[in-house]
């Protein structure tokens, strides 16, 4: 704590769990966008990830409300937000937008995997067969016409999903950006920055996931797919960063009454997480490494490593960005005369360890989802093995 802090400002109320909330919803939206790039815009080079990206979005979506619920002072009353919503509140819409997106994602996943589910139900026995039979919901028609209908429905759902994903994450940005009492967060640019950084985090996560998954499955990486992700990541990262930097530059140039406090915040109080981690490690380094990762001078292996490393760094950078928005904004006391210090805890509620667990949870869910609904497109097929003939649960 430094300077004069209002007596009620001594505690930072929105802590590490709330940092995860925009991080997770951002990944949900970003991963969904990647899947839509294939399903809607026909970016065929992304085909190897078209289904994995949707499952990733779904896995993170399952967990998007956990940090919020466990943060509430009265978690048992959480459903009141949907049962008796107060419509002037920016927060009141989350339950509805979240539920809408969850239904949309579940529907798209079902239509996308229906053919496989029917095949698994037919080829397996006992409880596994029962499980997949229930998943088919009785729709076992896999005639070419029925599958064609499935594809068209997937395309429609993926199309609706793009504005829905943008709205989901832009809306989260609005929740933070519309707090007029918070001089660091209060900007109309916040929803746009959130949409862009969400896309960035989704693409970055898929790059890393693709590499890890293929390493585990001992399958070769599809270079056009990875290089395409590399380009998307670079352009979205660049746009998001330019907006963020311009915003701060404008604040500084205008030099309103609150500027000295904001300057002090970014140069002293969140300098490590903002200047070093978010802007340096999370932006500058990947902006240089990503084009190198596309360069023809390097071998495929180096290209893969550079791209994956950039993806990982961007993921760290976006997490730091969420921290700087959520926690950073609260470090300026509303007295505008002092800073609050954030007390890091390791094990306690909203400490670093519970935070990490909450961050790993969607990945565990994804691991289960991938086992139930393998998203791979017949890479295992070929002379040796016919993958589709075997139930994945066996």
């Amino acid at each position: 704590m430094s300077g004069y802090v209002f007596p009620n400002d001594l505690e930072v109320h929105w802590r590490l769990f709330i940092v995860l909330y925009p991080y997770i919803t951002g990944i949900v939206a970003g991963a969904f966008i990647v899947s839509s790039l294939y399903h809607v815009f026909g970016k065929s080079e992304l085909k190897p990830l078209a289904r994995l990206s949707l499952l990733t979005s779904l896995a993170f979506l399952f967990c998007a409300s956990f940090p919020l619920l466990s943060h509430l002072g009265q978690p048992l009353r959480a459903l009141n937000i949907m049962m008796t919503p107060h419509l002037t509140s920016a927060m009141a819409g989350f339950g509805f937008i979240y539920t809408f997106f969850l239904i949309l994602c579940l529907l798209e996943t079902w239509f996308l995997f229906r053919e496989d589910i029917v095949k698994f139900a037919d080829s397996s026995k006992g409880s596994v067969k029962l499980f997949y039979s229930i998943l088919t919901l009785g729709a076992k028609d896999v005639s070419p016409e029925a599958l064609d209908k499935d594809h068209r429905i997937v395309k429609v759902l993926a199309t609706i999903g793009i504005p829905a994903a943008f709205f989901l994450t832009g809306y989260v940005g609005f929740i933070f950006g519309s707090i007029k009492a918070n001089v660091w967060n209060s900007t109309p640019l916040m929803p746009i920055i959130f949409i862009l950084s969400a896309t960035v985090s989704g693409v970055a996560l898929l790059i890393v996931l693709y590499r890890v998954v293929n390493w585990i499955r001992r399958v070769k990486i599809d270079m056009p797919c990875l290089m395409s992700l590399n380009s998307y990541l670079w352009i979205f990262l660049l746009t998001a960063t330019i907006l963020e930097v311009l915003e701060v530059l404008q604040m500084g140039y205008e030099g309103r009454a609150e500027w000295p406090m904001i300057y002090g915040l970014i140069t002293q109080h969140i300098s490590l997480s903002y200047l070093v981690i978010q802007m340096g490690i999370g932006v500058l380094v990947p902006l240089i490494l990503l084009p190198l990762g596309r360069s023809k001078r390097f071998s495929m292996r180096i290209k893969q490593t550079l791209t994956t490393l950039s993806g990982a760094l961007v993921l760290i950078g976006v997490l730091a960005m969420r921290f700087n928005v959520v926690i950073g904004g609260q470090l300026i006391s509303k007295s505008m005369a002092g800073y609050i210090s954030y007390d890091w805890t390791l094990f306690r509620h909203e400490g670093i360890i519970p935070d990490m667990v909450l961050l790993l949870l969607p990945l565990l869910i994804l691991a289960v989802l991938v086992r139930v609904l393998p998203p791979w497109f017949g890479e295992l097929k070929g002379p040796k093995k016919q993958a589709d003939d075997v139930s994945p649960l066996k």
Binding site: Y4, N8, H13, T84, P85, F94, A181, K334
Partner: protein, 257 residues
């Protein structure tokens, strides 16, 4: 197996689903209406209580001596733990030194002021409390409507309804709100609403030895506060926030945050 589902069958079953979907909330509304009819007499008595009343608060900063009796009385009246850093009201001390540098403090909300030996140009105290804003951001942002403004101009928190999300705490530009350390719901000054509803003064006004805190009904022409508002030059804190505070300050220095 191919599912056969004619358009006619689909429309009929969809209509059934919709009918059930619509009946359930309509039924719930009817039940609520019945319940609210039972409450109507209670509602009428509340409306009567609000009639002809609009509370305002005036602080005469020049009169405050920083004794913090108000802070103590407030904590006692509202059962807030004395040892925890949560305050429904607090007192700030401003010291403007000879270099025009402003030093502000409010140790434990003003309960622990120490004598400072400084070359100062001026020194004064400013009591702070919830401004019971007319356009309160806390009311706007509450996702469940747990905070609301009464007909006589006081912003209250419904402790049974609050989910403890802290959005209102973020939204208040005055940091008048905090999470109640025991109840885990939002809490703030309510001008001692139970007291003023009985015709008593808020605890802080009652105990102030110098009369720096004034409270009254601006719809009552005989009230002291009406005269005070007429004759004084008043300001509110952070006017640019557009919140419409109803706590007014006499002689408020521009350095006050």
């Amino acid at each position: 197996m191919k599912l056969k589902f004619t358009r006619r069958e689909f429309v009929i079953s969809a209509a059934k689903v919709m009918a059930v979907g619509l009946l359930a909330p309509t039924g719930a509304l009817a039940v609520t209406k019945l319940a609210s009819a039972a409450d109507s007499s209670a509602q009428n008595s509340i409306l009567q209580q609000w009639a002809g009343k609009e509370w305002n608060f005036v602080v005469d900063t020049a009169k405050c001596i920083g004794c913090a009796s108000c802070v103590k009385a407030c904590k006692k009246e509202n059962n807030l733990p004395l040892d925890q850093e949560v305050y429904r009201t607090w007192v700030e001390r401003y010291l403007v030194d000879t270099n025009e540098e402003v030093r502000i403090d409010s140790p434990r909300g003003g309960l622990d002021f120490q004598q400072k030996v400084l070359q100062v140009n001026k020194q004064f105290f400013v009591p702070k409390l919830c401004n019971q804003c007319k356009h309160a951001p806390c009311i706007q942002v509450c996702p469940v409507g747990a905070t609301y403004r009464t007909g006589d101009g006081v912003v209250l928190v419904d402790r049974e309804r609050c989910v403890g999300c802290s959005y209102c705490i973020q939204a208040c530009p005055y940091s008048a709100r905090f999470l109640h350390p025991v109840l885990k719901v939002a809490d703030k000054c309510n001008w001692c609403y139970p007291r003023i509803s009985k015709g008593l003064l808020p605890a802080c006004v009652q105990v102030c030895p110098t009369g720096a805190r004034k409270f009254g009904n601006i719809k009552d022409p005989a009230s002291e506060i009406v005269a005070l508002k007429k004759k004084s030059r008043l300001r509110v804190v952070k006017q640019d926030m557009g919140t419409g505070p109803t706590v007014f300050y006499i002689d408020l220095d521009e350095v006050v945050k």
